[in-house]
Protein backbone atom coordinates (compact mmCIF):
# COMPACT_ATOMS: atom_id res chain seq x y z
CA UNK A 1 0.00 0.00 0.00
CA UNK A 2 2.68 2.41 1.09
CA UNK A 3 4.74 1.82 -2.01
CA UNK A 4 1.78 2.77 -4.14
CA UNK A 5 0.88 5.83 -2.14
CA UNK A 6 4.37 7.34 -2.11
CA UNK A 7 4.81 8.03 -5.83
CA UNK A 8 1.35 9.62 -5.94
CA UNK A 9 2.20 12.02 -3.17
CA UNK A 10 5.47 12.83 -4.87
CA UNK A 11 3.95 13.40 -8.28
CA UNK A 12 1.21 15.78 -7.20
CA UNK A 13 3.39 18.88 -6.62
CA UNK A 14 5.44 17.92 -9.67
CA UNK A 15 2.50 18.11 -12.00
CA UNK A 16 1.30 21.29 -10.37
CA UNK A 17 4.72 22.82 -10.86
CA UNK A 18 4.80 21.69 -14.45
CA UNK A 19 1.38 23.20 -15.03
CA UNK A 20 2.45 26.42 -13.36
CA UNK A 21 5.51 26.60 -15.54
CA UNK A 22 3.49 25.96 -18.66
CA UNK A 23 1.07 28.71 -17.75
CA UNK A 24 3.93 31.00 -16.82
CA UNK A 25 2.58 31.39 -13.29
CA UNK A 26 5.06 32.62 -10.73
CA UNK A 27 5.75 29.61 -8.51
CA UNK A 28 6.12 30.46 -4.86
CA UNK A 29 8.49 28.30 -2.88
CA UNK A 30 7.01 27.19 0.37
CA UNK A 31 8.93 29.04 3.05
CA UNK A 32 9.18 28.68 6.80
CA UNK A 33 8.33 32.36 7.21
CA UNK A 34 5.23 33.23 5.23
CA UNK A 35 4.42 36.62 3.79
CA UNK A 36 5.99 36.87 0.34
CA UNK A 37 3.30 39.37 -0.66
CA UNK A 38 3.89 41.69 2.27
CA UNK A 39 7.69 41.62 2.17
CA UNK A 40 7.80 42.04 -1.60
CA UNK A 41 5.42 44.99 -1.31
CA UNK A 42 7.56 46.66 1.32
CA UNK A 43 10.69 46.02 -0.74
CA UNK A 44 9.23 47.62 -3.86
CA UNK A 45 7.83 50.54 -1.88
CA UNK A 46 11.10 51.23 -0.05
CA UNK A 47 13.21 50.91 -3.18
CA UNK A 48 10.86 53.29 -5.00
CA UNK A 49 10.80 55.96 -2.30
CA UNK A 50 14.48 55.75 -1.41
CA UNK A 51 16.17 54.92 -4.71
CA UNK A 52 14.05 54.99 -7.83
CA UNK A 53 12.05 58.21 -7.42
CA UNK A 54 15.03 60.41 -6.46
CA UNK A 55 17.06 58.98 -9.32
CA UNK A 56 14.32 59.52 -11.85
CA UNK A 57 13.96 63.05 -10.53
CA UNK A 58 17.57 63.60 -11.56
CA UNK A 59 16.77 62.61 -15.13
CA UNK A 60 13.50 64.54 -15.24
CA UNK A 61 15.07 67.76 -13.96
CA UNK A 62 18.04 67.50 -16.29
CA UNK A 63 15.72 66.76 -19.21
CA UNK A 64 14.24 70.23 -18.67
CA UNK A 65 17.50 71.67 -20.02
CA UNK A 66 16.98 70.29 -23.51
CA UNK A 67 19.77 68.38 -25.23
CA UNK A 68 21.95 71.41 -26.04
CA UNK A 69 21.70 72.80 -22.55
CA UNK A 70 22.39 69.37 -21.10
CA UNK A 71 25.43 68.79 -23.28
CA UNK A 72 26.79 72.27 -22.62
CA UNK A 73 27.11 71.53 -18.89
CA UNK A 74 27.47 67.77 -18.77
CA UNK A 75 30.07 67.56 -21.53
CA UNK A 76 31.92 70.81 -20.94
CA UNK A 77 35.71 70.52 -20.82
CA UNK A 78 35.67 71.19 -17.11
CA UNK A 79 33.07 68.47 -16.50
CA UNK A 80 34.93 65.96 -18.66
CA UNK A 81 38.11 66.60 -16.69
CA UNK A 82 36.16 66.10 -13.47
CA UNK A 83 34.71 62.76 -14.65
CA UNK A 84 38.12 61.62 -15.70
CA UNK A 85 39.53 62.45 -12.28
CA UNK A 86 36.60 60.97 -10.36
CA UNK A 87 36.48 57.67 -12.19
CA UNK A 88 40.23 57.45 -12.82
CA UNK A 89 41.18 58.13 -9.21
CA UNK A 90 38.47 55.77 -7.97
CA UNK A 91 39.77 53.01 -10.24
CA UNK A 92 43.36 53.63 -9.17
CA UNK A 93 42.37 53.62 -5.50
CA UNK A 94 40.37 50.40 -5.94
CA UNK A 95 43.34 48.74 -7.65
CA UNK A 96 45.73 49.79 -4.88
CA UNK A 97 43.20 48.68 -2.26
CA UNK A 98 42.98 45.30 -3.97
CA UNK A 99 46.64 44.73 -3.12
CA UNK A 100 46.74 46.25 0.36
CA UNK A 101 43.29 45.02 1.31
CA UNK A 102 44.24 41.48 0.33
CA UNK A 103 47.44 41.67 2.38
CA UNK A 104 45.55 43.08 5.37
CA UNK A 105 42.86 40.41 5.13
CA UNK A 106 45.60 37.78 4.86
CA UNK A 107 47.31 38.99 8.02
CA UNK A 108 44.02 39.12 9.92
CA UNK A 109 42.99 35.63 8.85
CA UNK A 110 46.24 33.71 8.89
CA UNK A 111 48.14 35.02 11.88
CA UNK A 112 47.52 35.44 15.56
CA UNK A 113 49.29 38.36 17.16
CA UNK A 114 48.77 40.67 20.08
CA UNK A 115 46.62 43.65 19.12
CA UNK A 116 44.88 41.74 16.33
CA UNK A 117 41.47 42.96 17.49
CA UNK A 118 42.76 46.51 17.53
CA UNK A 119 44.04 46.19 13.96
CA UNK A 120 40.71 44.70 12.97
CA UNK A 121 38.87 47.63 14.54
CA UNK A 122 41.18 50.09 12.79
CA UNK A 123 40.22 48.59 9.45
CA UNK A 124 36.61 49.54 10.09
CA UNK A 125 37.44 53.08 11.13
CA UNK A 126 37.10 54.59 7.64
CA UNK A 127 33.53 53.21 7.64
CA UNK A 128 32.63 55.03 10.79
CA UNK A 129 34.69 58.19 10.66
CA UNK A 130 32.95 61.31 9.34
CA UNK A 131 34.65 61.73 6.00
CA UNK A 132 35.40 65.40 6.69
CA UNK A 133 37.55 64.32 9.64
CA UNK A 134 39.49 62.00 7.39
CA UNK A 135 39.87 64.78 4.84
CA UNK A 136 41.27 67.24 7.37
CA UNK A 137 43.62 64.64 8.83
CA UNK A 138 44.93 63.60 5.42
CA UNK A 139 45.38 67.21 4.37
CA UNK A 140 47.33 67.97 7.54
CA UNK A 141 49.64 65.07 6.73
CA UNK A 142 50.09 65.45 3.00
CA UNK A 143 49.96 69.20 2.44
CA UNK A 144 53.35 70.53 1.28
CA UNK A 145 53.95 71.77 4.83
CA UNK A 146 52.35 68.74 6.52
CA UNK A 147 54.13 65.99 8.48
CA UNK A 148 54.60 63.71 5.50
CA UNK A 149 54.21 66.22 2.67
CA UNK A 150 57.15 68.20 4.04
CA UNK A 151 59.53 65.30 3.36
CA UNK A 152 58.03 64.42 0.00
CA UNK A 153 57.94 67.94 -1.41
CA UNK A 154 61.76 68.28 -1.77
CA UNK A 155 61.72 64.99 -3.71
CA UNK A 156 59.31 66.57 -6.18
CA UNK A 157 56.38 64.43 -5.03
CA UNK A 158 53.35 66.58 -4.32
CA UNK A 159 50.38 64.78 -2.86
CA UNK A 160 48.27 67.41 -1.17
CA UNK A 161 46.22 69.55 -3.58
CA UNK A 162 46.94 67.29 -6.58
CA UNK A 163 45.12 64.32 -8.17
CA UNK A 164 47.49 62.10 -6.17
CA UNK A 165 45.94 63.49 -3.03
CA UNK A 166 42.52 62.50 -4.36
CA UNK A 167 43.75 58.94 -4.84
CA UNK A 168 45.17 58.85 -1.30
CA UNK A 169 41.84 59.94 0.18
CA UNK A 170 39.94 57.38 -1.89
CA UNK A 171 42.31 54.59 -0.82
CA UNK A 172 41.54 55.55 2.77
CA UNK A 173 37.77 55.31 2.41
CA UNK A 174 37.82 52.18 0.23
CA UNK A 175 40.12 49.90 2.21
CA UNK A 176 37.56 48.31 4.56
CA UNK A 177 35.40 47.17 1.64
CA UNK A 178 38.14 45.00 0.22
CA UNK A 179 39.31 43.67 3.60
CA UNK A 180 35.84 42.79 4.83
CA UNK A 181 34.74 41.01 1.65
CA UNK A 182 37.95 39.03 1.18
CA UNK A 183 38.39 38.07 4.84
CA UNK A 184 35.60 35.47 5.20
CA UNK A 185 36.47 33.83 1.89
CA UNK A 186 40.13 33.56 2.86
CA UNK A 187 39.17 32.11 6.23
CA UNK A 188 36.95 29.61 4.49
CA UNK A 189 39.73 28.64 2.08
CA UNK A 190 41.73 27.09 4.90
CA UNK A 191 45.43 26.53 5.17
CA UNK A 192 45.20 22.93 4.02
CA UNK A 193 44.91 23.75 0.31
CA UNK A 194 48.13 25.74 0.59
CA UNK A 195 49.77 22.82 2.35
CA UNK A 196 48.43 20.48 -0.31
CA UNK A 197 49.97 22.68 -3.00
CA UNK A 198 53.27 22.68 -1.09
CA UNK A 199 53.40 18.89 -0.79
CA UNK A 200 52.73 18.71 -4.54
CA UNK A 201 55.87 20.74 -5.13
CA UNK A 202 54.39 24.18 -5.85
CA UNK A 203 56.44 27.25 -4.94
CA UNK A 204 54.91 30.01 -2.82
CA UNK A 205 54.29 32.13 -5.92
CA UNK A 206 52.70 29.21 -7.77
CA UNK A 207 50.52 28.45 -4.78
CA UNK A 208 49.37 32.06 -4.64
CA UNK A 209 48.75 32.41 -8.37
CA UNK A 210 47.18 29.01 -9.04
CA UNK A 211 45.47 28.14 -5.78
CA UNK A 212 44.72 31.17 -3.61
CA UNK A 213 44.04 33.90 -6.13
CA UNK A 214 41.50 31.97 -8.23
CA UNK A 215 39.66 30.95 -5.09
CA UNK A 216 39.33 34.46 -3.71
CA UNK A 217 39.10 36.43 -6.95
CA UNK A 218 35.28 36.70 -6.93
CA UNK A 219 35.35 38.16 -3.43
CA UNK A 220 38.28 40.38 -4.33
CA UNK A 221 36.40 41.66 -7.36
CA UNK A 222 33.31 42.35 -5.28
CA UNK A 223 35.39 44.18 -2.69
CA UNK A 224 37.05 46.28 -5.38
CA UNK A 225 33.69 47.07 -6.96
CA UNK A 226 32.35 48.25 -3.61
CA UNK A 227 35.48 50.30 -2.93
CA UNK A 228 35.25 51.77 -6.42
CA UNK A 229 31.57 52.63 -6.06
CA UNK A 230 32.19 54.25 -2.70
CA UNK A 231 35.16 56.19 -4.11
CA UNK A 232 33.19 57.55 -7.08
CA UNK A 233 30.62 59.02 -4.72
CA UNK A 234 33.11 60.20 -2.09
CA UNK A 235 33.00 63.88 -1.33
CA UNK A 236 33.88 64.86 2.20
CA UNK A 237 37.37 63.45 2.52
CA UNK A 238 38.42 64.48 -0.99
CA UNK A 239 37.53 68.16 -1.15
CA UNK A 240 40.02 69.12 1.59
CA UNK A 241 43.04 67.35 0.16
CA UNK A 242 42.24 67.86 -3.54
CA UNK A 243 42.70 71.61 -3.69
CA UNK A 244 39.79 71.61 -6.13
CA UNK A 245 41.53 73.30 -9.05
CA UNK A 246 39.26 73.13 -12.11
CA UNK A 247 40.63 70.90 -14.90
CA UNK A 248 43.19 69.47 -12.50
CA UNK A 249 42.02 68.33 -9.10
CA UNK A 250 38.31 68.95 -9.13
CA UNK A 251 36.11 65.88 -8.68
CA UNK A 252 32.71 65.52 -10.31
CA UNK A 253 30.66 65.55 -7.09
CA UNK A 254 32.29 68.88 -6.19
CA UNK A 255 31.39 70.24 -9.59
CA UNK A 256 27.77 69.39 -8.84
CA UNK A 257 27.98 71.32 -5.57
CA UNK A 258 29.61 74.25 -7.41
CA UNK A 259 26.68 74.30 -9.84
CA UNK A 260 24.21 74.15 -6.99
CA UNK A 261 25.90 77.03 -5.22
CA UNK A 262 25.39 79.07 -8.37
CA UNK A 263 21.69 78.10 -8.26
CA UNK A 264 22.20 76.16 -11.50
CA UNK A 265 20.08 73.17 -10.49
CA UNK A 266 19.69 72.03 -14.07
CA UNK A 267 23.43 71.99 -14.66
CA UNK A 268 24.00 70.12 -11.42
CA UNK A 269 21.46 67.44 -12.33
CA UNK A 270 22.94 67.16 -15.83
CA UNK A 271 26.33 66.25 -14.36
CA UNK A 272 24.65 64.01 -11.79
CA UNK A 273 22.72 62.16 -14.50
CA UNK A 274 25.91 61.62 -16.50
CA UNK A 275 27.69 60.21 -13.45
CA UNK A 276 24.72 58.03 -12.72
CA UNK A 277 24.80 56.50 -16.19
CA UNK A 278 28.55 55.90 -16.11
CA UNK A 279 28.38 54.38 -12.64
CA UNK A 280 25.49 52.16 -13.60
CA UNK A 281 27.23 50.90 -16.72
CA UNK A 282 30.45 50.18 -14.78
CA UNK A 283 28.68 48.35 -11.95
CA UNK A 284 26.59 46.42 -14.44
CA UNK A 285 29.80 45.40 -16.20
CA UNK A 286 31.32 44.25 -12.89
CA UNK A 287 28.18 42.26 -12.18
CA UNK A 288 28.44 40.52 -15.54
CA UNK A 289 32.08 39.73 -14.79
CA UNK A 290 31.12 38.20 -11.45
CA UNK A 291 28.38 36.16 -13.02
CA UNK A 292 30.80 34.90 -15.62
CA UNK A 293 33.30 33.96 -12.93
CA UNK A 294 30.65 32.11 -10.99
CA UNK A 295 29.56 30.19 -14.08
CA UNK A 296 33.15 29.20 -14.73
CA UNK A 297 33.35 27.24 -11.52
CA UNK A 298 29.93 25.64 -11.46
CA UNK A 299 29.60 24.31 -14.99
Amino acid sequence: MASVALPMVASAPDSRQALGMRLGILQRQRSIIPGFGVTMGITVFALSVIVLIPLSAVFITSAGLGWDGFAATAFSRRALAAYRLSFGAAAAAAAINAVFGLITAWVLVRYDFTGKRLVSALVDLPFALPTAVAGIALTALYAPNGWIGRWLAPLGIDIGFTPRGVVVALIFVGLPFVVRTVEPVLADLGADVEEAAATLGASRLQTFVHVILPAISPALLTGCALAFARAVGEYGSVIFIAGNMPFRSEIAPLLIVVQLEQYNTGGATAIAATMLVISFVLLFGINLLQGWQRRLRTT
Binding site: D192, V193, A198, L200, G201, L296, R297
Partner: protein, 345 residues
Amino acid sequence: MSVTATGVIKTFGDYTALSNVSLEAREGEFLALLGPSGSGKTTLLRILAGLEFPDAGQILIGGEDMAGRPARDRRVGFVFQQYALFRHMTVADNIGFGLTVRPRGSRPATREIARRVAELLELVQLPDLGRRYPAQLSGGQRQRVALARALAVEPRILLLDEPFGALDAKVRKDLRRWLREVHDRTGLTSIFVTHDQDEALDLADRVVVMDHGCIEQIDTPEALWDRPASAFVCDFLGGANRVAAIASDGIIDVGGIRLPNHAPALQDGPVTGFIRPHEFSLAAPGSPGIPVTIRRCLRTGAQAALETETHDGAIIEVTLSEPPAGLVPGLTQVLVPTAIRAYPV
Protein backbone atom coordinates in the same frame (compact mmCIF):
# COMPACT_ATOMS: atom_id res chain seq x y z
CA MET B 1 61.58 3.96 0.60
CA SER B 2 62.16 3.59 4.29
CA VAL B 3 61.25 6.31 6.75
CA THR B 4 63.06 6.79 10.05
CA ALA B 5 62.29 9.21 12.84
CA THR B 6 64.75 9.42 15.71
CA GLY B 7 64.21 11.26 18.98
CA VAL B 8 61.63 13.66 17.57
CA ILE B 9 60.46 16.36 20.00
CA LYS B 10 57.83 18.96 19.18
CA THR B 11 56.23 21.51 21.47
CA PHE B 12 53.61 24.17 20.80
CA GLY B 13 54.16 26.77 23.50
CA ASP B 14 53.70 24.92 26.80
CA TYR B 15 52.09 21.95 25.15
CA THR B 16 54.29 18.97 24.34
CA ALA B 17 52.91 17.35 21.20
CA LEU B 18 55.71 14.82 20.79
CA SER B 19 58.25 13.84 23.42
CA ASN B 20 61.16 11.84 22.10
CA VAL B 21 59.46 9.74 19.45
CA SER B 22 61.36 7.21 17.33
CA LEU B 23 59.99 4.86 14.70
CA GLU B 24 60.86 3.20 11.44
CA ALA B 25 58.70 2.34 8.45
CA ARG B 26 60.38 -0.26 6.28
CA GLU B 27 60.46 -0.19 2.51
CA GLY B 28 56.96 -0.92 1.14
CA GLU B 29 55.41 -1.16 4.57
CA PHE B 30 51.91 0.04 5.46
CA LEU B 31 52.14 1.66 8.89
CA ALA B 32 49.26 2.99 11.01
CA LEU B 33 49.64 5.69 13.64
CA LEU B 34 46.86 4.93 16.10
CA GLY B 35 45.88 6.99 19.10
CA PRO B 36 43.23 9.19 20.67
CA SER B 37 43.00 12.84 19.66
CA GLY B 38 45.83 14.83 21.17
CA SER B 39 48.20 11.87 21.11
CA GLY B 40 50.51 13.60 18.63
CA LYS B 41 49.93 11.24 15.71
CA THR B 42 48.94 13.95 13.23
CA THR B 43 51.82 16.18 14.37
CA LEU B 44 54.23 13.33 13.71
CA LEU B 45 52.77 12.80 10.23
CA ARG B 46 53.02 16.52 9.44
CA ILE B 47 56.64 16.54 10.60
CA LEU B 48 57.40 13.64 8.25
CA ALA B 49 55.78 15.63 5.42
CA GLY B 50 57.70 18.81 6.20
CA LEU B 51 54.54 20.76 7.05
CA GLU B 52 55.80 21.10 10.61
CA PHE B 53 59.39 21.15 11.85
CA PRO B 54 60.57 19.28 14.96
CA ASP B 55 62.31 21.06 17.86
CA ALA B 56 64.78 18.20 18.04
CA GLY B 57 65.33 14.86 16.38
CA GLN B 58 66.07 13.55 12.94
CA ILE B 59 63.90 12.48 10.02
CA LEU B 60 65.34 10.24 7.32
CA ILE B 61 63.47 9.40 4.13
CA GLY B 62 65.25 6.81 2.03
CA GLY B 63 68.33 7.42 4.19
CA GLU B 64 68.38 11.15 3.36
CA ASP B 65 68.32 13.66 6.20
CA MET B 66 65.26 15.91 5.82
CA ALA B 67 66.43 18.64 8.24
CA GLY B 68 65.40 22.05 6.91
CA ARG B 69 63.84 20.58 3.77
CA PRO B 70 60.40 22.15 3.21
CA ALA B 71 57.42 20.07 2.08
CA ARG B 72 57.79 21.04 -1.57
CA ASP B 73 61.25 19.49 -1.81
CA ARG B 74 60.47 16.21 -0.05
CA ARG B 75 58.52 14.40 -2.78
CA VAL B 76 56.04 13.14 -0.23
CA GLY B 77 52.43 12.38 -1.11
CA PHE B 78 50.07 13.76 1.50
CA VAL B 79 46.33 13.09 1.72
CA PHE B 80 44.37 15.44 3.97
CA GLN B 81 41.40 14.51 6.11
CA GLN B 82 39.22 17.20 4.53
CA TYR B 83 40.54 16.35 1.02
CA ALA B 84 41.95 19.89 0.47
CA LEU B 85 41.04 19.72 -3.21
CA PHE B 86 41.34 22.90 -5.28
CA ARG B 87 37.70 23.86 -5.69
CA HIS B 88 38.13 26.02 -8.76
CA MET B 89 39.92 23.29 -10.73
CA THR B 90 38.44 20.26 -12.45
CA VAL B 91 39.27 16.82 -11.14
CA ALA B 92 41.78 16.37 -13.96
CA ASP B 93 43.47 19.71 -13.21
CA ASN B 94 43.60 18.82 -9.53
CA ILE B 95 45.35 15.56 -10.26
CA GLY B 96 47.70 17.14 -12.78
CA PHE B 97 48.57 20.08 -10.52
CA GLY B 98 51.77 18.58 -9.13
CA LEU B 99 53.05 18.00 -12.65
CA THR B 100 52.06 21.38 -14.11
CA VAL B 101 53.86 23.33 -11.36
CA ARG B 102 57.16 21.61 -12.00
CA PRO B 103 59.98 23.84 -13.25
CA ARG B 104 60.03 24.10 -17.04
CA GLY B 105 63.01 21.76 -17.40
CA SER B 106 61.41 18.76 -15.71
CA ARG B 107 57.77 19.47 -16.56
CA PRO B 108 56.16 16.79 -18.74
CA ALA B 109 54.46 17.88 -21.98
CA THR B 110 50.76 18.72 -21.75
CA ARG B 111 49.94 15.52 -23.61
CA GLU B 112 52.03 13.46 -21.19
CA ILE B 113 50.31 15.10 -18.20
CA ALA B 114 46.89 14.28 -19.68
CA ARG B 115 47.99 10.67 -20.15
CA ARG B 116 49.21 10.43 -16.54
CA VAL B 117 45.96 11.95 -15.27
CA ALA B 118 43.88 9.47 -17.27
CA GLU B 119 45.99 6.64 -15.89
CA LEU B 120 45.48 7.80 -12.31
CA LEU B 121 41.75 8.32 -12.82
CA GLU B 122 41.68 4.70 -13.92
CA LEU B 123 43.63 3.65 -10.81
CA VAL B 124 41.21 5.42 -8.46
CA GLN B 125 38.24 4.05 -10.43
CA LEU B 126 36.87 7.42 -11.55
CA PRO B 127 37.68 7.20 -15.26
CA ASP B 128 34.85 9.44 -16.51
CA LEU B 129 34.91 12.19 -13.91
CA GLY B 130 37.97 14.15 -15.06
CA ARG B 131 35.95 17.16 -16.18
CA ARG B 132 33.82 17.46 -13.04
CA TYR B 133 34.51 19.89 -10.24
CA PRO B 134 35.16 18.66 -6.69
CA ALA B 135 31.81 20.10 -5.54
CA GLN B 136 30.07 17.66 -7.90
CA LEU B 137 31.63 14.59 -6.26
CA SER B 138 30.68 12.56 -3.21
CA GLY B 139 32.98 12.45 -0.18
CA GLY B 140 34.43 9.08 -1.10
CA GLN B 141 35.08 10.20 -4.67
CA ARG B 142 36.79 13.37 -3.45
CA GLN B 143 39.10 11.40 -1.21
CA ARG B 144 40.03 9.17 -4.13
CA VAL B 145 40.79 12.25 -6.25
CA ALA B 146 42.95 13.56 -3.40
CA LEU B 147 44.85 10.28 -3.40
CA ALA B 148 45.30 10.36 -7.18
CA ARG B 149 46.61 13.91 -6.90
CA ALA B 150 49.13 12.84 -4.28
CA LEU B 151 50.25 9.87 -6.39
CA ALA B 152 50.65 11.98 -9.55
CA VAL B 153 53.96 13.46 -8.45
CA GLU B 154 55.41 9.97 -8.01
CA PRO B 155 56.08 10.47 -4.32
CA ARG B 156 58.72 8.50 -2.48
CA ILE B 157 56.35 7.83 0.41
CA LEU B 158 52.63 8.30 0.96
CA LEU B 159 51.22 9.94 4.11
CA LEU B 160 47.50 9.93 4.89
CA ASP B 161 45.95 11.99 7.68
CA GLU B 162 42.73 10.28 8.85
CA PRO B 163 41.90 9.57 5.22
CA PHE B 164 38.44 8.17 6.02
CA GLY B 165 37.64 10.45 8.93
CA ALA B 166 34.99 12.48 7.12
CA LEU B 167 33.20 9.54 5.49
CA ASP B 168 30.29 7.39 6.60
CA ALA B 169 30.77 3.84 7.82
CA LYS B 170 29.85 2.00 4.62
CA VAL B 171 32.09 4.13 2.39
CA ARG B 172 34.90 3.85 4.92
CA LYS B 173 34.91 0.11 4.73
CA ASP B 174 34.94 0.00 0.93
CA LEU B 175 37.67 2.62 0.69
CA ARG B 176 39.74 0.79 3.29
CA ARG B 177 39.96 -2.38 1.20
CA TRP B 178 40.57 -0.37 -1.90
CA LEU B 179 43.36 1.68 -0.31
CA ARG B 180 45.10 -1.52 0.75
CA GLU B 181 44.87 -2.75 -2.86
CA VAL B 182 46.31 0.51 -4.19
CA HIS B 183 49.13 0.25 -1.65
CA ASP B 184 49.92 -3.32 -2.64
CA ARG B 185 49.89 -2.39 -6.33
CA THR B 186 52.10 0.71 -6.03
CA GLY B 187 54.38 -0.73 -3.34
CA LEU B 188 54.77 2.71 -1.77
CA THR B 189 55.82 2.98 1.83
CA SER B 190 52.65 4.39 3.40
CA ILE B 191 51.89 5.83 6.81
CA PHE B 192 48.37 6.70 7.85
CA VAL B 193 46.90 8.30 10.90
CA THR B 194 43.70 7.03 12.48
CA HIS B 195 41.88 6.96 15.79
CA ASP B 196 39.84 3.92 14.76
CA GLN B 197 41.46 0.73 16.08
CA ASP B 198 39.50 -1.49 13.68
CA GLU B 199 40.84 0.48 10.75
CA ALA B 200 44.42 0.28 12.01
CA LEU B 201 44.30 -3.43 12.81
CA ASP B 202 42.50 -4.22 9.57
CA LEU B 203 44.74 -2.27 7.19
CA ALA B 204 48.25 -1.91 8.50
CA ASP B 205 51.26 -4.20 8.41
CA ARG B 206 52.32 -2.72 11.71
CA VAL B 207 50.54 -0.35 14.08
CA VAL B 208 52.15 2.41 16.12
CA VAL B 209 50.02 3.11 19.19
CA MET B 210 50.52 6.61 20.55
CA ASP B 211 49.36 8.43 23.65
CA HIS B 212 50.26 11.86 25.01
CA GLY B 213 53.07 12.40 22.53
CA CYS B 214 54.75 9.06 23.27
CA ILE B 215 54.80 5.75 21.45
CA GLU B 216 53.26 3.02 23.59
CA GLN B 217 53.86 0.09 21.29
CA ILE B 218 54.87 -0.73 17.70
CA ASP B 219 53.76 -4.15 16.57
CA THR B 220 51.88 -6.20 14.02
CA PRO B 221 48.08 -6.24 14.51
CA GLU B 222 48.23 -9.84 15.81
CA ALA B 223 50.97 -9.15 18.32
CA LEU B 224 49.22 -5.96 19.41
CA TRP B 225 46.00 -7.85 20.02
CA ASP B 226 47.64 -10.81 21.74
CA ARG B 227 50.25 -8.99 23.79
CA PRO B 228 49.34 -5.35 24.47
CA ALA B 229 52.38 -3.74 26.04
CA SER B 230 50.50 -1.48 28.42
CA ALA B 231 47.16 -0.94 30.07
CA PHE B 232 46.58 2.00 27.71
CA VAL B 233 47.07 -0.14 24.60
CA CYS B 234 44.87 -2.90 25.96
CA ASP B 235 42.16 -0.41 26.86
CA PHE B 236 42.42 1.55 23.60
CA LEU B 237 42.15 -1.53 21.40
CA GLY B 238 38.73 -1.75 22.89
CA GLY B 239 36.22 -4.15 24.29
CA ALA B 240 38.18 -5.33 27.32
CA ASN B 241 36.60 -5.33 30.78
CA ARG B 242 38.60 -3.80 33.58
CA VAL B 243 38.77 -5.82 36.83
CA ALA B 244 40.75 -5.55 40.03
CA ALA B 245 43.13 -8.46 40.70
CA ILE B 246 46.14 -9.52 42.77
CA ALA B 247 49.48 -10.60 41.30
CA SER B 248 51.83 -13.02 43.02
CA ASP B 249 54.73 -14.85 41.39
CA GLY B 250 53.42 -14.04 37.90
CA ILE B 251 50.03 -15.60 38.66
CA ILE B 252 46.98 -13.35 38.67
CA ASP B 253 44.19 -13.97 41.14
CA VAL B 254 40.69 -12.76 40.23
CA GLY B 255 38.04 -13.62 42.80
CA GLY B 256 39.77 -16.92 43.63
CA ILE B 257 40.49 -17.91 40.03
CA ARG B 258 44.25 -18.08 39.36
CA LEU B 259 45.43 -17.43 35.80
CA PRO B 260 48.78 -16.96 34.06
CA ASN B 261 49.40 -13.38 32.90
CA HIS B 262 49.28 -12.66 29.13
CA ALA B 263 51.05 -9.34 29.55
CA PRO B 264 54.62 -8.33 30.54
CA ALA B 265 55.81 -9.43 33.98
CA LEU B 266 54.57 -7.57 37.05
CA GLN B 267 55.54 -6.93 40.64
CA ASP B 268 53.44 -8.68 43.27
CA GLY B 269 50.45 -6.78 44.64
CA PRO B 270 47.19 -5.29 43.41
CA VAL B 271 46.98 -4.92 39.63
CA THR B 272 44.44 -3.93 36.95
CA GLY B 273 43.33 -6.85 34.85
CA PHE B 274 41.75 -6.73 31.41
CA ILE B 275 39.47 -9.54 30.32
CA ARG B 276 37.87 -9.56 26.88
CA PRO B 277 34.13 -10.40 26.65
CA HIS B 278 34.68 -13.84 25.13
CA GLU B 279 37.18 -14.85 27.83
CA PHE B 280 34.52 -15.83 30.38
CA SER B 281 32.50 -18.86 31.20
CA LEU B 282 29.54 -19.07 33.59
CA ALA B 283 29.35 -20.94 36.89
CA ALA B 284 26.69 -21.43 39.54
CA PRO B 285 26.42 -18.92 42.40
CA GLY B 286 28.81 -19.73 45.23
CA SER B 287 31.67 -21.04 43.09
CA PRO B 288 34.94 -19.03 42.80
CA GLY B 289 35.00 -16.18 40.25
CA ILE B 290 33.27 -12.84 39.91
CA PRO B 291 29.69 -12.90 41.22
CA VAL B 292 27.43 -10.77 39.02
CA THR B 293 23.80 -10.02 38.30
CA ILE B 294 22.65 -10.19 34.69
CA ARG B 295 21.16 -6.89 33.60
CA ARG B 296 20.53 -7.50 29.93
CA CYS B 297 20.79 -10.48 27.66
CA LEU B 298 20.87 -10.19 23.89
CA ARG B 299 20.81 -13.36 21.84
CA THR B 300 21.99 -13.21 18.25
CA GLY B 301 21.85 -16.61 16.63
CA ALA B 302 23.94 -19.06 18.63
CA GLN B 303 25.69 -16.28 20.56
CA ALA B 304 24.59 -14.31 23.58
CA ALA B 305 25.84 -10.92 24.70
CA LEU B 306 25.38 -10.28 28.41
CA GLU B 307 25.58 -7.07 30.30
CA THR B 308 26.31 -7.92 33.91
CA GLU B 309 26.86 -5.92 37.06
CA THR B 310 29.21 -6.76 39.92
CA HIS B 311 28.39 -6.11 43.56
CA ASP B 312 30.25 -2.81 43.53
CA GLY B 313 28.34 -1.59 40.48
CA ALA B 314 30.95 -2.16 37.73
CA ILE B 315 29.60 -3.30 34.36
CA ILE B 316 31.17 -6.36 32.75
CA GLU B 317 30.29 -7.34 29.20
CA VAL B 318 30.37 -10.99 28.30
CA THR B 319 29.89 -12.86 25.03
CA LEU B 320 29.08 -16.54 25.24
CA SER B 321 29.29 -18.77 22.19
CA GLU B 322 27.22 -21.57 23.74
CA PRO B 323 24.92 -19.87 26.22
CA PRO B 324 22.84 -22.03 28.54
CA ALA B 325 19.09 -21.60 28.51
CA GLY B 326 17.32 -19.39 31.04
CA LEU B 327 19.60 -16.36 31.11
CA VAL B 328 17.21 -13.62 32.16
CA PRO B 329 17.81 -10.19 33.67
CA GLY B 330 18.01 -10.32 37.45
CA LEU B 331 19.61 -13.77 37.53
CA THR B 332 22.73 -14.08 39.70
CA GLN B 333 25.71 -15.93 38.22
CA VAL B 334 29.46 -16.21 38.65
CA LEU B 335 31.83 -15.23 35.83
CA VAL B 336 34.91 -17.41 35.52
CA PRO B 337 37.65 -15.69 33.51
CA THR B 338 39.67 -17.94 31.21
CA ALA B 339 42.46 -15.50 30.34
CA ILE B 340 43.71 -12.19 31.69
CA ARG B 341 46.16 -9.40 30.90
CA ALA B 342 47.27 -7.54 34.00
CA TYR B 343 49.15 -4.24 34.30
CA PRO B 344 50.31 -2.14 37.23
CA VAL B 345 47.47 -0.15 38.78
